[in-house]
């Protein structure tokens, strides 16, 4: 299993990671090694085996539908780089040109 540079760039884009050329080259090699190691899982026949997403017994977790006071908005916004009018402030989402 060998990843191409183009694949690494595609994954980095999906993951929203800006990578340097050096990082891309290194990840190309290292991720290929790791995926090659992981390929040994393909040798196991798992056709009749159900997947495990959680080791806990399947159950619905519900709690009473009651209102409780939450943390104050100001407290929650305290860690934000920019706030405006009690909200997170973000750069333009749609680029206008």
């Amino acid at each position: 299993m060998s990843l191409t540079l183009a694949e690494v760039e595609h994954i980095a884009e999906l993951a929203r990671l800006a990578l340097s050329d050096q990082e891309k080259a290194r990840f190309c090699e290292q991720l290929s090694d790791i995926l090659e190691y992981a390929a040994r899982l393909q040798a196991l026949d798992t056709t009749s085996i159900p997947p495990t997403a959680s080791v806990l017994p399947e159950r619905s977790v519900l709690r009473a539908d009651e209102a409780h006071p939450g943390l104050p908005v100001q407290e929650l916004l305290r860690n934000a780089p920019k706030i405006e009018a009690g909200q997170f402030c973000v750069p333009p989402v749609l680029e206008l040109d």
Binding site: R16, L31, T46, S54, V55, R78, P81
Partner: protein, 496 residues
Amino acid sequence: MNTITGLTLSQLVHGLRTGDFSSREAVQAYLEQIERLEPNLHAFISLAPEQALAQADIADSRLAAWRKSGENPIPPLLGVPMAIKDVLCVAGLRCTAGSRILENFIPPFSATAVERLLEAGIIVLGKTNTDEFAMGSSTENSGYWVTHNPWNLERVPGGSSGGSAAAVAADMAPAALGSDTGGSIRQPAAFCGISGIKPTYGRVSRYGLIAYGSSLDCVGAFARQVSDVALIYSLIAGHDERDATSMDYPKPQVNLNGKDLKGLRVGIPDEYFIAGIQAEVEASVREAIQVLQTLGAAVERVSLPHTEYALPVYYLIAPAEASANLARFDGIRYEPRSEAESMWGVFYRTRGERFGAEVKRRIMLGTYALSAGYYDAYYGQAQKVRTLIKTDFEQAFEKVDLIAAPVAPSTAFPIGRHSDDPLAMYLEDIFTLPANLAGVPGLVFPVGFDANGLPVGMQLMGPHFGEDILFKAGHAYQQVTDWHQRKPPLIDKAFT
């Protein structure tokens, strides 16, 4: 020799109650020990000396009132200092998760495990170093600095909870909280010669734990001896409605009475005693198993046939979950932000500039394993093999009460050994990953030393919610051995 910092957690509780020393004196003694050894060890990311001393004064007045009146029971750990791994939120105290992307984060709330200990009376000394977002086996991946092993400063303390383990081993705290996603409590406990528990998945609330791999993450504890680990476990375990994965089980009753292990069936898994394991590690673990036998336990061989697949399963599932969990760190809700003209630019730059290499590697790996066209082959197949690993344990626990095994193939390795080879670093985790994948508890305690004077640990794994059996066996072992009382020579040297 500093007498207070040399005490165990329970001795400290006793001394505070009888008034042998005050909580202020205890906090001061630990802060001095930290000041003395921290330049060599780098076990902490943040310290909270002023808050700790202020809380100590409050604890002292409560203790004094209690001694006077003798009425109203006081909280079990009133006035006891502790260290907290920096992936668990403590309200008002900076929490970095070992990452530069959270270098200014002040949590407005405390993790449930922390909150329960605060209610039990503890005082937080500081936040301990960790591999960034708990991703690592050596604490070398911290975005801040490398923690050194108190037994040998050129060796790693293990990871990712290396700061907590080093702090307890060096008497900088009598106990500490950690987290364990693939061995991050057990392996550093072994490397630093102390005791630690990774509880059953779902036993301790993860509310306020910065998430890494949500189907695997567990909050647990370190202390010098098993009985103290059991005490902390009994205080943090139990249902929490703020964590939907915390199980609604009764609070644990930990009964450590006696050292008679008659009737206990101990399984020895062939797959954990393989070629390549350090000879002294195998010898010490086998000797420790004999000790359990002399205490009355019956020993038999068991097989966990899918053990060799735990590594590839873990390194697909954990990164996949991490890639989703870490999507929230994008420069919008938490400082710092790398500015750019568009929102997408902020995401790319903030994440690209502030995540470290290992975190990026795992996000990339997880994103790939979950991406269209590869999901079934990687993530899907890993989840199916996880079922096989879990079934191995279920079948073994039909025959035995617990499983005894090495924690890692070797003792603490030199700093820098695996810095260019992530796969080699991952291989350090082969004996700890299966318990996380199966969700079973694991207890580690010291059982010897190698020729270089580095500690060797043993792990006992039990069935789901079987922590009490592990504690009973570990405590019995420590009543007839003294490995857990040995301390790194650096502790005394620092005082001369």
